[in-house]
């Protein structure tokens, strides 16, 4: 199984924690980003993700390498879901194994923050009235 992956299938954290398991690890931290039913006061029916897939995978692997350089971790896995994602389902899953929990927590947060800034994945909100909107992450808005 791949540590960095884009998939149209539902995400399961157990799969990722299994991927990063390491006998020298004392901790595995994981993060699951789930889709919310509202944004800026509007009701969201479901979300849809698309990616510039080859570049997104390269950037995800780059984040993995940067996390390895910055934190004392054993392994990291990052999977992102594509296509339609219903409300309450996981859109991004990250798992990090480390000797100690602090490094695992920090690397996990680092990875999601960087992903939201630099990985070419795009989110479209579908609203109750059938209108749609592409939504950039707040950190990437100008001004």
């Amino acid at each position: 199984m791949k540590l960095f992956r884009l998939t149209h299938e539902p995400l399961e954290l157990e799969v990722l924690t299994g991927l990063v398991a390491n006998p020298e690890a004392g901790a595995i931290a994981s993060f699951l980003g789930v889709t919310r039913n509202h944004n800026l006061g509007q009701g969201v029916r479901f979300l849809e993700y698309e990616a510039y897939e080859p570049m997104a995978l390269k950037e995800m692997a780059r984040i993995g390498r940067e996390a390895q350089e910055r934190f004392e971790i054993k392994n990291i896995a990052i999977w992102h879901r594509l296509g339609v994602v219903e409300i309450g389902q996981g859109s991004i899953a990250i798992a990090v194994s480390a000797g100690h929990r602090q490094a695992a927590f920090r690397a996990c947060e680092f990875a999601i923050d960087r992903l939201k800034e630099q990985v070419p994945i795009f989110k479209k909100e579908h609203f109750a009235d059938d209108s749609t909107r592409w939504v950039p992450n707040r950190t990437n808005l100008q001004g």
Binding site: M55, S91, I92, P120, I121, F122, V135, N137, N140
Partner: protein, 81 residues
């Protein structure tokens, strides 16, 4: 020279397709490709200031040179996570 354009999200929808081959003068830059699209496709001008670019899957600045048969990707600010 030929440049292979890949467009995503709102830009893909404005162009009506994900892939296009642009015929640009030698020594054209990223900004020239964007300018070219603003003339041919309605709505691109409004999106243009926010677009990010990548050449052969690496982020590129507006003044970076394109080259024959390169893969130019243009997309709005990312929204993954």
């Amino acid at each position: 020279m030929k440049v292979r354009l890949f467009a995503f999200a709102g830009l893909r929808e404005l162009l009506g397709q994900e892939n296009l081959v642009l015929d640009l003068p030698v020594s054209a830059k990223v900004e020239d490709a964007i300018e070219f699209l603003t003339h041919g496709y309605e709505g691109v001008r409004a999106l243009a200031p926010s677009l990010r670019a990548a050449i052969n899957q690496e982020y590129a600045e507006r003044d970076q040179l394109l080259f024959e048969n390169c893969e130019l990707a243009l997309f709005p600010p990312v929204g993954g996570g």
